[in-house]
């Protein structure tokens, strides 16, 4: 999948180990701009580790990673909007503190858009982080993330911690607010709920890429949904 010249993310032979366990094993991948990529794999396949490397949270690995031609540095952090799978804002903060912080640090952050999203998600800017549920926290982080006009969006399990009704709302928020000229990488194991938005899918198994294809071509060629393919590829792993 390297026919496109607009390469935004280039990952070459990355290996990351936690003790004797390899989270990423000689992992290589090239992702182009203007696409929505589904990063799919079962729990423990290395999705979160890869996303944390791209976000600049993991530094101790072998291999090379570049985003827009830069190794991970303040520039890449300025163009990457990262959504973690867990809440991480300090508990003393209120929603409006988080908005102010993003406004202070990210030049591509749109305060009005964020306020609109916060309102749309029925959150109160004066609400403190510690009083918010996990679902509310995820919506808040999503609003901050999608209010950025970023070149790369990295969303780690954006629908993982919310109920099915809220998933639709989150999907709608992502699709109607992201920068279409940018690259969006979404990791999930809830493939069925989200597969319709993918341009490309990357299947990861035990820290390596097992498949990287155009989503529509894959559906036509195999005559099955991405979800069915996911089940087929990872069926045996569930008990291993």
């Amino acid at each position: 999948m390297s026919e496109n010249n607009d390469v935004m993310i280039q990952i070459d032979h990355v290996t990351k180990s936690y003790g004797s366990t390899k989270a990423l094993d000689d992992f290589s991948l090239q992702l182009s701009t203007g696409k929505i990529i589904g990063l799919l794999g079962p729990n423990g396949s290395g999705k979160t580790t890869l996303m944390k490397i791209l976000a600049g949270l993991i530094h101790d690995y072998c291999g090379s990673v570049t985003i827009d031609g830069h190794t991970i540095d303040p520039y890449t952090k300025s163009i990457v909007a990262y959504l973690s799978d867990e809440p991480y804002f300090p508990k003393w903060m209120k929603i409006r503190d988080g908005i102010r912080l993003y406004h202070d640090f990210y030049t591509d952050f749109d305060v009005e858009k964020c306020m609109h999203l916060i309102k749309q998600m029925e959150l109160d800017p004066n609400m403190s982080i510690k009083s918010m549920s996990k679902g509310m926290n995820e919506k808040f982080l999503l609003a901050l993330c999608m209010a950025r006009n970023a070149l790369v969006y990295i969303l780690d399990e954006p629908i993982g911690g919310v109920d099915p009704a809220a998933r639709e709302e989150i999907m709608e928020t992502i699709l109607s607010n992201y920068n279409p000229n940018g690259l969006m990488v979404i990791s999930t194991h809830l493939v069925k709920d989200i597969e319709r938005i993918f341009d490309e899918v990357v299947l990861i198994k035990q820290g390596s890429v097992v498949l990287h294809r155009n989503a529509e071509e894959l559906r036509e060629e195999r005559n099955q949904s991405i979800d069915d393919l996911f089940v087929e590829v990872f069926r045996h792993d569930a008990f291993n």
Partner: protein, 260 residues
């Protein structure tokens, strides 16, 4: 950089302000309650004041030591949690260099320590107010005596004296003090960062604490025994602090994994 320092200062504002109010309140109560000691109440005004200040000066020094310890522990634990634990997601994804990030944390911690120093000086005045209020509520005659015999300016002058002593030697002592505080914070951050290296984090918890202790002991030994010609102890400490700052920033940018 200013945005980062602002963020750092805001981050600890509530906890530190609460601690300051507790300290001030504690010293006020110390003064207020000191007057009500049975042995003090039989004294004349001057004896009363000197006794109360004698006792409270001792407690004051204990309080200062305890507070310094509490604040330093708080400064270091805030650094660890905001850099290497889940809150670290926020700080480590900001579009700033690790040098700016670490420097802002050192400067913000320094500012808080200075504010705490000023609060401690102010608490001497607060303690005096506590004594005067206790006397005023109890015995108007002694209060009049105290007001005429005790010069409140003396207390204020003592506070200012401590503060101004820093400016002796054309600011040399002040500079020396500033550098020593900054270096101590920086070295503390370096120790915490070294222990958060993936290699050490993969060790068993008990072993990690052993490594922690070894690193601390090595740092203390380095400060104790490194003697360089023409350099005072504070200069050696400053050099180690600067090297520590560089090392911390490098490790944060290249070697550290933020834990989930």
């Amino acid at each position: 950089m200013m945005r980062l320092i602002k963020l750092e200062l805001i981050q600890c504002k509530n906890q530190y302000m609460t601690l300051m109010f507790i300290v001030m309140g504690g010293f006020f109560l110390m003064g207020f309650a000191g007057y009500h000691l049975e042995s003090v109440r039989g004294m004349n005004a001057m004896e009363m004041v000197s006794t109360i200040y004698g006792v409270t000066a001792f407690v004051f020094m204990m309080g200062v030591t305890l507070l310094c310890f509490v604040v330093l522990v708080r400064v270091f634990s805030t650094f660890a949690s905001s850099m290497f634990n889940r809150n670290g997601y926020l700080y480590n994804t900001l579009p700033v260099t690790s040098y700016e990030l670490v420097a802002s944390k050192i400067i913000a911690a320094f500012i808080w320590l200075v504010i705490f120093g000023l609060v401690l000086l102010a608490s001497m005045v607060v303690m005096t107010i506590g004594i005067l209020l206790a006397v005023l509520m109890d015995n108007m005659d002694i209060f009049r005596q105290l007001i005429t015999q005790v010069d409140l300016r003396y207390v204020l002058n003592r506070c200012i004296y401590f503060f101004m002593a820093l400016f002796d030697g054309n600011g040399y002592y002040l500079f020396q003090s500033v550098m020593m505080i900054l270096s101590t914070i920086s070295i503390g951050y370096t120790i915490i960062t070294l222990v958060h290296l993936p290699l050490i984090q993969q060790m068993k918890k008990a072993l990690r604490y052993v490594v922690y202790l070894i690193v601390i002991v090595l740092m203390i030994l380095a400060m104790e025994y490194i003697e360089l010609p023409f350099l005072d102890t504070w200069m050696v400490l400053t050099i180690i602090g600067i090297l520590g700052y560089g090392l911390t920033s490098y490790l944060v940018a290249h070697k550290i994994d933020v834990a989930g």
